[in-house]
Symmetry: C2
Subunit: 231 residues, 2 copies
């Protein structure tokens, strides 16, 4: 009997790599989906390819979308500096409707390959500033998805959006991934990694990641840049 | 006082051109959004540009997305023939999750420009075979959008997805557009238009369009190919 299929949104970071390992451990054939949307660095796309291969994804697709053309985010607008510290409220690194767009494309992919499960590495604890990382958003997207596609309307199954990291701390995520064999040295979390994928060690994402390894009492395999590029 | 802004999904066809005219007539500054997603012909993108200009859109953006890479539709897969006649059920010309993807990108655009209204030319009468053209889908998307974005979560407004053609016949749409000054000679509905935008006159979309002009008792300005390319 063939395994059920799942689409896994893969960003190249620590969280989505863990999600891929979780989906595999739950018995899914994993179809990884990444996006080239005008992000500052391509290091994370290289990381996606390494992770998908290392964790046995059946297929890995990289879709190009012109999301950066809208502007409005430090992650795609090179004129905005990436902030070193987390400010209250919604971070400047927010990309408009990013998870909505990514899940929508995952939904199309799921329909084409006949998958009923979409996995996404959102986490309400660390990213409480992003509206599209909250349980209410995931639930609302799932409800929409079940009236949106040919498969959901004609089929006997329901589409599920799985967010297995939602209530986990960064340390919890790292411990789980380590048990499932994730090589975190392959992952890139840094907002301003260099071309080789080495982290700055300064930005908010780097800080959360380093704290996670310390709290999990697991050695941090992150390659850091020798000279920090703090501006 | 400045006008409120609205995002208009513009495909180059008769319906979305009418929607743009409707939004303008309702007092919105119109920001048109079109997609290059691997469709068979670029004629419709040329049509989008002419329509946006002719109907006074404040801005027109064309976003590239790799939707065609998924395959599974006659509109993006050149190995599948476009059917001449409408079959019962969901048409082969269905693109997986297309309106979900398009509305998601419109949502990102709306957030960046500060718009609370997104207009889409879906129509339950003519396209009853597409799940993502039904009122239930539009409503579910709107509910999702209102928990998805920084603007909706922080703002005092609610986001609205407007589908003003939902219950209109093709003839009703054409009569309304004609009253609002739409030049339908600029629009391309045909699934297999040639590079100059001339219609085949055979496909399902051409048939519906021609019937609409006849029923509306308005002269059909569609440029047709002299020699039909029926395969």
């Amino acid at each position: 009997m063939s395994k059920p299929r799942a689409v896994i949104l893969l960003s190249g970071g620590l969280d989505s790599a863990t999600v891929l390992a979780i989906a595999r451990s739950q018995g899914f054939d994993c179809y990884a989906l990444s996006f080239d949307y005008g992000q500052r660095h391509k290091a994370e796309l290289d990381a996606c390819r390494r992770i998908a291969s290392d964790l046995g994804a059946v297929e890995h697709r990289v879709l190009s979308i012109g999301l950066g053309e809208f502007g409005g985010s430090a992650l795609t607008d090179l004129d905005l500096a990436v902030p070193d510290k987390q400010e209250p409220g919604i971070p400047i690194t927010y990309v408009p409707a990013r998870n909505t767009v990514f899940l929508s494309l995952a939904l199309g992919y799921a329909e084409v390959i006949g998958a009923w499960d979409i996995f996404i590495g959102v986490n309400a604890v660390d990213y409480s500033g992003y509206p599209d990382c909250r349980p209410a958003f995931i639930k609302a997207f799932e409800q929409m998805a079940n009236v949106a596609t040919k498969a959901a309307v004609e089929g006997e199954e329901q589409l599920h959006v799985r967010a297995p990291l939602m209530d986990l701390s960064k340390a919890d995520i790292i411990r789980m991934g380590a048990r499932l064999g994730v090589d975190y040295g392959l992952t890139v979390s840094c907002y301003q990694a260099d071309e080789a994928g080495r982290a700055c060690g300064i930005c908010d994402s780097c800080r959360l990641r380093a704290e996670g390894f310390r709290a999990a009492r697991i050695a941090d395999p992150t390659p850091y840049q020798k000279k920090n590029t703090k501006s």
